[in-house]
Amino acid sequence: MRPVYAISGGVSKFAKSRPDKTFAAIVKEAYDYAINDIGLDFPTFTRLVDGSVASYFSDHFSRQLMAAIMAQDYLGLIPKPSHRVEGGGATGGLCFQEAWKSIASGHMDICVAYGFETMSHVETWKGNEFIALASDISFDYPVGGFYSGYYAMMVTRHMKEFGTTVEQMAHVSVKNHINAFHNPYSQKRNRYTIEDVRNSPMVAWPLTRLDICVMSDGAAATLLVSEEGLKKLEDAGAQIARPLVKVTGIGRGTDAMRMSDRPHVDYDNFIENYATQQEKDSADTMAYYKKLWEHGTRYPGVHSFRAGRTAGNMAYKHAGVSDPLRELDFVELHDAYTSSEIQTYEDLGLCRYGEGGPFAASGKAFMPGVDYGLDLVDAPACPVNPSGGLIACGHPVGATGLMQAVFAIWQLQGSVSQHFGDATLQLDAPQRGAIHSHAGTGTYVTVSILERE
């Protein structure tokens, strides 16, 4: 496999509704931004780009089949090769990795990954119905299909199993909303308190409206290149930011569509097949897990995402990461729910299974230099969702995983200030970050590692 560089990106302003433009024109906003950012004009880039991968989740939202080819057409990319990927909420992450494969395999030198969703064309509760159709329509959807309900069931189990609290979950909401306060691309730029989160309307007990991401209209695009592609662009006059950002690892995992079908494996099975190398190497952690299992914990059950752990382990191995909390400078992860951010801390090995709640409230996942109005006992160790994540930025599904990639590129380039007009969210010379994209109730999960060269 060849080295792959993520050289540029663009994000449309995520909004509740964008009736002013078609989905294809919204994609063009993000695409044009990514091209402009490397200083090329549209015809020159069009001449050089080899092809694309397109990402959107649901045909239902726009009532337009084959929408991706309309975007490809509008971007002026025809007749170059392209294909659409779809994998629920992980669609954007899958798209990024498919573009990576196009470059790494030698099939292309310059590939654009673009994604979009326009969710405002239906009422919110009809939109929830569409999303719930991404659950088994024989056995899950008819019982009360509602994704917030599914995630709420996961977290009641997590709370019962590990003692996780709603206040710990609210810390995630406060953190991500306040981060997004400094991100002009985000849909929601509000400062909330723990009390605000808990006092907002109950959606699915114990998740309130501020524990849950919102639907959005939006698009994002990233440009991935090989060393040869880099040379072609620079020979044509592109000004590509240094240090370069390299994609050093990708990983994916899957799990059963129906949460009810997830296994409940014993300790030995967990250690052999799912524990991180770091966990296996720690006698203390092995003893900790042994104790959990003696108290009845089984894995993954409905409290953990086996697909996320699988994707993380695979990406870490690929990138040579052995201690994620210390070796990752930030993570942009799929926080569709505050509870799923906590679950994902554990899946990604930022803390041990069962310790996601205390980790959320500790301060380790917060940004340095930002006032959250909270008493945090620990200093930031690995900021999670410095952009504000899905909860605050919004979740236009097909764009979301690519939005994470764009924010990660800017973070590693050190160009957040330039793109946001505000330096608050720029970490001090980050070397390595992870992006995590997640579908369904944990059915497809992707993890990609990006590093500053």
Binding site: E129, I137, S138, F139, M153, D261, V302
Partner: protein, 182 residues
Amino acid sequence: MSTTPNKREETLGGYIVHNIPFPVETNPEALAWLKKMTPIQIEQPYQITYLHSYAQDSPWFAGLTNKKLLANQDDQTGYTYATPRGHDMYTGAETKWIDITERDAKVHAFTVCHFGSEEFLPETPFVLALVEFEGVNTLLLTRILGIDPMQASLDWIGMSVQPQFLRNSKLKPTDVYFTPVA
């Protein structure tokens, strides 16, 4: 040989609009002004009825109409699925049907939905739960009745429950629901 009318018939219904503000003269300046126009939005109804087959899972629904709760089991390993599954995910073999109607059942996880997908909004608040069964490896998504949804408590996890069956079956998984064991 017949020709179509040379004038299209005007019909009632849908949107009928006349003279949306528009430049009188279509000169370059006036046409440039159109870039400032607010978008026109219309309704596009979409409704369809699917013929859905429960296929190999059909006996489970037939069981509910007879007040029987079935499960699937791998013959070789005994691995048992509370939610029907025609083939075992570990051996790949076809599963058999077993009756779990009388098995001890407990709430494994739950929520109270105060909002929901459009189809279920009129039913809110309702209690959605995953139920575990004695000797069964996987769970069943169901509704719990007979408890106060406004008094949600983690203590509900582990609560013993029993299946109840609709008298007038709708051939849906909601033909079975659970209530606390008295």
